[in-house]
Subunit: 392 residues, 2 copies
């Protein structure tokens, strides 16, 4: 098969920062992107060919997207898998990752069942359909993290439960007492959180180097690549990530969040069926970015190299404000002046508390295997740089 450009047009449900960076990566390949997003002039709009203004679960809007494009994907788990499947079938347009995979991942219980059945290590978990289920899980495990089965992300819908007495209140936080629709997981006593960005192409699979993720209030703050852990742990994380990719259907990039336990074991925490915040480092830090990989994979094109070019840290610029207001980020000169630092602004009109507004990536010296000390320094200096930015 020969591949020609101008290439196919890619339809993307969601036009946030992931859609924006996907459009930025696709353009040089001769691939145009049309996004579907409910917010007029969404972050991806200025760099994409076009935006269809519509909801992620509006079947008519998804059909219009399918009719105008040659392949469908999504950058947000809120995309409706049934409508995606219907629109793809009606317009004879492939959907990747498959709607079935999206449906599984949208349900935290189904996701864990799928992984367990594939023999992939996950924290112990119990389905919670009643207060009694949760109480039983707390008694069994001592303490659990209660997670909404559907609709949770960035830690929203996650509630720690440390005693039976907290069960009912916890359930009210994630759902209703009548229908909790939740899952309870054992607390993992982890050494660190790591992730592997994997990409599944047409008969080939690649993984990026293991990243180390620093969370606070369950929101990703920084990613350090390579992770500051042992080679054995990194190899184990890669092996688990490849098993996860084998278990998933459909082409595309998957963000695979992992726990490294105190014993050096790897457990799968969550999977995102799309480019992932912990893979933003790859834009500057790897030969091929996760966004270019996603475009290639969804189109069935050959995948690019995941080789790392330099030690890299990415740091999220979150909304450090108390209330919503028009977004103006000050102090950007410090990022511009720093050797090897790059700003990625997502183009959101308003800043909200803890909203992801952009990120800073800093790369170290090319072609050197960095020491842990060098990575510590790179993390610290990048964090300070990011922290020096303020919303006016």
């Amino acid at each position: 098969m020969t591949i020609t450009v101008p290439g196919p047009t890619l339809g993307v449900v969601g036009g946030g920062q992931l859609g924006r960076m996907l459009a930025e990566a696709a353009a040089p390949l001769g691939v145009e992107v049309i996004v579907l997003d409910p917010t007029p002039d969404c972050p991806a709009a200025p760099v994409a060919r076009d935006q269809i203004v519509g909801d992620f679960d509006d079947p008519d809007a998804i059909s219009r997207l399918a009719e105008r494009t040659d392949a469908l994907t999504y950058e947000i788990e809120l995309a409706d898998p049934d409508y995606l499947a219907d629109a793809g079938a009606a317009a004879d347009v492939p959907v990747h990752p498959t709607p079935e995979t999206l449906r599984t991942i949208q349900d935290k219980f189904a996701e864990k069942e799928m992984l367990s059945e594939a023999g992939i290590p996950v924290p112990e978990y119990r389905r919670v359909d009643s207060v009694a289920d949760l109480e039983a899980a707390v008694e069994e495990f001592g303490a659990v993290m209660l997670k909404a089965r559907h609709g949770g992300y960035d830690g929203r819908g996650n509630v720690p439960v440390r005693s039976v007495g907290e069960a009912e209140d916890a359930i009210r936080e994630v759902g209703s007492v009548d229908d909790p629709d939740a899952v309870a997981e054992t607390f993992v006593d982890f050494e660190r959180e790591v992730s592997v960005i994997g990409v599944q192409g047409d008969g080939e699979v690649r993984t990026f180097p293991v990243g180390e993720n620093v969370h606070e209030e369950e929101i990703l703050r920084e990613t350090v690549v390579p992770a500051r852990t042992t080679e054995a742990v990194k190899e184990r994380a890669q092996a688990v990530a490849r098993d996860v990719l084998d278990a998933l259907d459909g082409r595309g990039v998957f963000g695979i969040e992992l726990f490294e336990t105190r014993e050096g074991e790897i457990l799968v925490n969550e999977i995102a069926p799309r480019p992932h915040n912990s893979g933003h480092w790859s834009i500057e830090g790897a030969i091929t970015s996760q966004f270019e990989q996603h475009a290639r994979a969804v189109l069935g094109w050959p995948l690019g190299s995941t080789r790392q070019r330099a030690p890299t840290v990415s740091a999220n610029i979150l909304g450090t404000v108390d209330e919503t207001k028009p977004a103006t980020l000050a102090g950007v000169e410090r990022v511009l002046e720093r050797e090897g630092a790059n700003l990625h602004w997502y183009g959101k009109d308003d800043v909200r508390p803890l909203r992801k507004m952009g990120h800073v990536t800093a790369t170290g010296e090319e072609g050197r295997r960095p020491s842990t000390d060098a990575l510590d320094d790179l993390l610290e200096s990048t964090r300070e740089l990011r922290d020096s930015l303020t919303f006016q």
Copy 2:
């Protein structure tokens, strides 16, 4: 001064591939681009905020561009300097590089006069206002390259003249016998053509590593960075480039084309007041691309690092067709499959003979000082890769 994002909006006269890659580089910085171009849906249009459809010398269109933007620049020497100056003044918007610099560079004789007066080495030249002027130049120098003073680019408007008898015909090729409006240069017996991409910011100047340019029929085919020449020649090229930047007014990127003579001297051939084809390698090969540098410089922002990340070759994809037709490039899978190779497609609807349609960049191993042999191999393999692409 603190720099804030969302940043200023940049108005660009010209929406070809340079405007496209400028818009791609500006977006992550929170800088939106509006281009002015006569071709509806020009290459930059899909990735820019907006396009004003109009001619480069349409004063009304340039005024409308100035009114909608915070800073003006241009990606094509055909931009009209007077209208740029007027529009900038009327809308109180800075224009960079300055219209005066553009006016000088648009006139090959004025450009050489400016360089000579600044003590910068250029090939010997004579102003040609009549057939007799050209005959005298041929008698003086033996053989000359006759160049149209205005409007020539990519070798168009350049005619070699080897005897007095060829003078009149040569003048008819570049202009009219009554008003030749030309300049005659000695043929330079050069060892190789090199270039330095320089960037002039607000009180700071930076230069990228020296690139080596392979031309054929006076059109750039490949650029190899670093140039395969001695350290002494590279230092000399850098010094000359810095002198050129000192002599030029206004902020922005300048492409400075140089001859390395057989004696190892450096002469300035031509200057482009904009990002230059021989700087495309910097997108993957340098910490900061020439396009990001241009945006930073025009806005008066701090410049980025010009450090090279890896040995790099860029190879132009030219229109290898006999006549104009809709553009479809085949064989792209070979670029996608090659480790460290990147495609840049410019999004032009039609392919024409020798038209610049895109380029391929290939990077070698990071952090190694490459041997000449390694650069030879990278050039050869990148050229073969590019040559394997065909227009259907």
